[in-house]
Symmetry: C2
Subunit: 571 residues, 2 copies
């Protein structure tokens, strides 16, 4: 039986982690409580890799009945990018029943206070952490990520981002004390005395709209930020990536109930094919907060139409790497090759446009022409992915047919410097696995050209496609970078240069256009990866996203503070 | 000559005040560095009351040339609610010249960093503080506030709110360190090392749209929050209340220039009669932040149309006082009488609807019927304002003819319990001075009634009009309170009760509907007054305002943090 744990127990158990997290986000030094090595799992109550696989297998073909009110049906039809039919069904809600039920527990959740809410959130994360290996398979078979990445990005890294959001939410709420005695001197008369109380009050029900590629990593920040600030959270997963978030909801409901709260504070909104429930939910008056990761089109729709809610969006962007010069040519090539290959370029942070001066660059191996750089980078990618086993482990599978269609179309955009290669996956023959393609484009705007070339590199081509864009000079590269970030947005910017002057100029563009910059990465850190507690994911200041993970702005408007003041009697 | 002060000097001078402010907003105990007694002025370089008057008089009929780029004309036509033609003219800008000029100083302002920006803001506030008496007259002769109130609310209290915003802005920016060393263990391999820098980056140009009644008090929070977070600020005053903000801009430009920054980081946008420049400015792409206090209609317009900007609005609301019972009947009556009278009810925080049970209330003077409470309160207001000198000192003047028209129309809405009285102002014969009116209305919704009665008390009747609304019970009062806050918004809620149960129920309504509550005020604190560093002004969680003064949410999205990371070499 699940023993009810008291608030005191929960706080005692999780307060040290909360404090350590608060320290980490203030120093931004490395830290994580969630191990990213598989060997760390299988002890202390966590599932081992084998147990995680078995737990996932046991889920296939089952009904995940979350015990939600207003369930009028069970729906589901996920097919893994690896070809496996998951066969899991989930509750389909009558939202006119579910939404009021979600509001019922809000008062007790508010009265719990910021610290207990944080402890409950940390308990949810701890339970998820123990099932990391199971979640890894769930993320793999919805996103198409290879297992190691699915386990790491969908497990510890996602949990880190959730924990980070809880810490920010907690810190924000306790900036104002619970109570204050206010005594204003009145000269010779008695002072004016007031007793004041301050209560953080959530806004109501938050809607978290999940994405296909990173259901937990992109979903947890909003989910936990809203929950920790006193809101209920309705989780609307991507129809092709329900399982990881349904399991998350299940754990959250269990923990809430065991802690004496209404489990309906967290609920799932699964949908029938083509139902498009996100649009319906997003404009319901009960929905006060929306977190969304996905297309610019729907993100813009939400910002325009869901005016009753605070809307946090991560949309499309065009990520650029400026290649000016390097003192580690091999390091640069291998670093970029990895960045372009990881998860088949299906990360919102994957570089797309590589801006290379037409006359070439200087390197520690002597000058390299534009063509040489492109050829060497193509070779580097080819080498990295030459072995099929390694290629499968890095690339994962294409998440949906649209990505494959974009990849197929890319070859017609320009001269193909690196053709995409089909890779067989012996374990999952139906998986669509492709190595990244690289296409040469000319970045100079010549008056006799049509706008087609520019249209190619000035829009997001989500998937394993990059453009080696020839520019007249590094100065032109910076102009193009500025224009790209300003008009299209960017989650990441990379640059390689040995010149402090150029580095300063790139930095200035990034500061002015509000983009996160990685300089001269040649080792084991990649431009497309950010670490919770230290790196910001997105800036919130360019069109790719209106929020960053994670900062004060991400949490501070998810609740308001209500003050009650009354006259105090002089003591 | 104005000696250039170094950054070091400015920080050394103002850091203690900044630190003390940071402490105050975290304890929310009483504090203010800005004296509210007139006798405190005239020393330490500040203008005395007489000097302030002389300085104001010297401004009349002059051209306030701020030296702004793109000035194509000088405009102005303020007529004091006291009848005085100010005759001051201000630069009218060609915004296609002014806006680019305002952007020119942004880089240096960003590079100054959060601490120096805060120090510059505090220097601006200190210079304004020294001229408080002059500002008092400027606020009096634009808002119609009586001098003592104009001096206090427009002087020290406004400066407090500005300082509070600077402190929040500073605290928010330094939550992330300037730099971090990040070292991630890699088992037996060398750790991954990164050097990271974090820079708060303002969003661009902020637009502060001032209001007629509290040009400085409502204007300073947005102005200083934006400036302190690295933005330039364009101040668009209400056409009838330009002078206090023009003087503010003048001081800010002087201080910026003396500190070595571009004075165009703060500029004024005065307009010709009927030009309606706010609508034009609000949708300019350069404008990234808007602060607005005024009508719901224009606030909603801004939120709908100025989508390129962060929009902070304080709009109309309907403030309620629930009268259930009291153990200080006289105290309650005198407290309410003052609240209703101050500045002729022209505060966004003035109570409008007094909800009184039809069968009466219990008091320390025995039971009082609804009619008795209303008559006693009317008598209390009458007594407070019986003396014309005192009435003038409390009421000030009606700010514009619309207020008078609403007051005149109020008598037709129901039985007049307290008629408005015309008060002569011997110093300013043209001033329109009126005591507040109180009208009896029935708050019960009867099916045979038209909706006219409800329409009266369910919309804001800005000015010296209150409604004594008879309700069937305190429970009905709470229902009406909830409905009023939810539908119309409220800046304040008051309640009188001796029952802890009723107090708890009122508190619960305020928590759920997100309204700031004052309980049982019978002494020298009034529901319409809030103190910076301790009280929140508005909640940001009901339709009256989407932001509160001041909290993390008010500042955190006025800037973004840009990170630059590069590989570090192991030491």
């Amino acid at each position: 039986m699940a023993a009810e744990r008291t608030a005191h127990d929960l706080i005692a158990e999780h307060r040290p982690t909360l404090d350590r997290t608060l320290e980490a986000i203030s120093t931004r030094a490395y830290w994580s409580p969630h191990p990213e090595h598989p060997k760390a799992y299988g002890e202390n109550g966590s599932l081992s890799m084998a147990e995680g696989k078995a737990a996932f297998d046991a889920l296939l073909g089952t009904r995940l009945d979350l015990g939600q009110p207003g369930t009028d049906d069970f729906v589901g039809g996920e097919v893994s990018p690896y070809g496996v039919e998951l066969g899991v069904t989930y509750p389909h809600a009558d939202i006119d029943v579910l939404l009021p039920a979600m509001r019922a527990g809000l008062r007790a959740w508010r009265e719990a206070g910021a610290e207990l809410r944080a402890a409950v959130c940390l308990e949810i994360l701890a339970r998820i952490s123990a099932r990391t290996m199971e979640f890894g398979h769930a993320v793999m078979h919805t996103s198409g990520q290879a297992f190691m990445m699915a386990f790491q990005a969908g497990g510890p890294h996602a949990q880190d981002r959730g924990l980070e959001a809880v810490a920010y939410a907690y810190a924000e709420q306790v900036r104002t004390p619970d109570a204050a005695e206010w005594s204003k001197p009145q000269g010779k008369r008695d002072p004016l005395l007031l007793t004041k109380s301050f209560t953080p009050v959530g806004r109501g029900i938050a809607l978290m709209i999940g994405c296909n590629t990173f259901p937990t990593w992109n979903g947890y920040p909003g989910l936990f930020a809203s929950l920790a600030t006193g809101n209920a959270v309705l989780v609307k997963p991507h129809p092709r990536a329900v399982l990881p978030l349904a399991l998350t909801v299940q754990v959250a409901r269990d923990v809430l109930a065991e802690a004496g709260f209404d489990p309906n504070l967290v609920a799932l909104a699964a949908e029938r094919p083509g139902e498009g429930i996100a649009k319906t939910l997003a404009v319901r008056p009960e929905i006060k907060i929306i977190d969304y990761t996905g297309s610019t089109e729907f993100g813009d729709w939400l910002e325009t139409h869901a005016r009753q809610a605070q809307v946090y969006t991560e949309k499309a962007g065009v990520n650029t790497v400026v290649i000016d010069s390097t003192d580690s040519y091999k390091g640069m090539l291998s670093n970029l090759a990895f960045s372009l290959s990881l998860y088949s370029g299906q990360m919102c942070t994957t570089p797309q446009n590589l801006l290379i001066p037409r006359e070439g660059i200087s390197t520690d191996e002597g000058p390299k022409t534009y063509d040489e750089v492109v050829a060497d980078l193509a070779r580097s990618v080819g080498g990295l992915l030459g072995d099929d086993a390694r290629a499968n482990a890095l690339l994962g599978a294409l998440v949906n047919p649209d990505v494959k269609a974009r990849l197929d179309a890319a070859a017609s955009l320009g001269e193909v410097a690196l053709p995409s290669r089909e890779v067989a996956n012996p374990d999952f023959p139906d998986a669509v696995v492709r190595t990244p393609a690289m296409v040469k484009l000319d970045g100079a705007r010549k008056f006799w050209e049509t706008a087609d070339t520019e249209a190619a590199y000035m829009s997001e081509c989500f998937g394993p496609v990059s453009f080696a864009v020839a520019v007249d000079s590094t100065a032109d590269a910076l102009d193009l970078l500025r224009r790209t970030v300003r008009d299209q947005g960017a989650m990441t910017v990379g640059a390689y240069t040995t010149s402090e002057e150029v580095a300063g100029a790139v930095e200035e563009v990034c500061l002015e256009e509000c983009a996160q910059l990685s300089l001269n990465l040649t080792g084991g850190v990649y431009v497309n990866q950010t670490a919770a507690f230290s790196d910001f994911h997105g800036s919130g200041g360019n069109p790719a996203a209106n929020a960053a993970l994670c900062d004060g702005a991400f949490v501070s408007n998810r609740f308001r503070v209500v003050e009650v003041r009354r006259e105090a009697v002089a003591s």
